[in-house]
């Protein structure tokens, strides 16, 4: 398969069904995990599950898994941007903790 040529794939319904079931299981896990008190790890657990769910949607439902390299690049750009954007938090979290500023 040439990664530079977009091929016309018709994927089996069973694959989509598996992804859908995985998403529903992840939804149940998100709700259950929120019922426990892991302290600061609640946020981390919720985000790991959400990122996994979003990855499944992007790869299989949005068909990036079988996309060309150019599609991979564009799909990745948005998430790279989110990463850069959230570096802003480094400012808020370290305020008042750096002596001498």
């Amino acid at each position: 398969m040439n990664p530079n040529v977009l091929e016309h794939h018709v994927l089996p319904v069973s694959l989509y069904t598996k992804v859908f079931v995985a998403l529903l299981i992840a939804l149940v896990l998100t709700v259950l995990a929120a019922g426990f008190d892991f302290g600061p790890f609640n946020f981390l657990v919720a985000m790991i599950i959400s990122v996994s769910k979003a990855s499944l949607v992007v790869l299989y439902f949005m068909n990036v898994r079988y996309g060309t390299r150019l599609i991979w690049l564009w799909a990745g750009l948005g998430f790279l941007w989110m990463l850069l954007l959230f570096l802003t938090l480094g400012d808020y979290i370290t305020r008042g903790k750096v002596v001498g500023w």
């Binding site: 040529v5 949607v57 439902f61 996309g67 948005g78 941007w81 989110m82 938090l89 979290i93």
Partner: protein, 250 residues
């Protein structure tokens, strides 16, 4: 590719634009164009997510107290509805890839039904927030319950009543302005998301009308695929909104 070969491809593919060599290249351009649009969407939703993160970090107690006012069951129901709609959307794309127009229309209608269900649930949630004076602005009221409501009600025995009293005490200890800030984010983010859901539904209604008329634009899978990309993006935004607004914090 040689000029002759390019002409050959254009002869076989009547929908191939003259700027493209092959139909695959044209399809890739459409999909990349849609992704470029989605990146701009990520950029502006991203700013709101960052704002939410900063204020959550600054006012953790107020945001935890305020988020208890949202309905977890309704939020879970809406997540389920949106995940289901993504599943039916992807099956709609698959149907047209196989040239099955009836299945395409059926799956698109199911997706529109889910979009409608989502908006109806959201309307009930917003209605409850308006009723409880939780909309930011001059009518905002915090704490959300009358002082001493637990004592005034039925005999408050048992663990449930104690937990409720603790919640009430925690709510009363919170700065109303900070609690209001949570609802500013709640309404901005879910409101903007709901607008996207409504736009998605309108796009799908147009596709259904075109498909019913067997319009040439929807004989190919690419227009449905692009509507699907938009729809799945809306789903992804909700996948993050749901835990961040409804679930996180105790």
């Amino acid at each position: 590719m040689s000029v002759e070969a390019a002409h050959g491809a254009h002869g076989m593919e009547p929908h191939l634009g003259i700027q493209y060599e092959t139909i695959e290249q044209q399809n890739e351009s459409y999909i990349v164009g849609m992704w470029a649009f989605l990146v701009t969407e990520i950029m502006f939703f991203g700013a709101l997510f960052l704002g939410l993160a900063v204020y959550r970090y600054l006012y953790p107690e107020a945001f935890t107290a305020a988020h208890h006012q949202l309905s977890k069951p309704l939020g879970t129901l809406n997540t389920f509805i949106l995940l289901t709609s993504s599943y039916t959307m992807v099956l709609a794309v698959r149907s047209i890839q196989l040239g099955n127009r009836r299945a395409l229309i059926g799956f698109l209608l199911l997706t529109i039904l889910c979009a409608g269900g989502f908006v109806v649930v959201k309307t009930f949630e917003y209605g409850a927030k308006i009723e409880h004076h939780l909309v930011p602005g001059p009518t905002f009221r915090w704490p959300p319950h009358e002082a001493g409501a637990v004592e005034a009600g039925a005999p408050s025995e048992g663990a449930g009543a104690t937990a409720e009293a603790e919640h009430h005490a925690a709510d009363a200890a919170v700065n109303p302005g900070q609690a209001q800030m949570f609802f500013v984010f709640y309404f901005c983010m879910t409101g903007l998301h709901a607008i996207h859901v409504i736009i998605g539904a309108i796009i799908m209604i147009i596709l259904v009308i075109l498909a019913l008329r067997d319009h040439p634009a929807v004989r190919d899978y690419i227009p449905i695929e692009m509507a699907g990309l938009y729809w799945h993006f809306v789903d992804i935004v909700w996948i993050f909104l749901f835990p961040l607004l409804y679930l996180i914090g105790h």
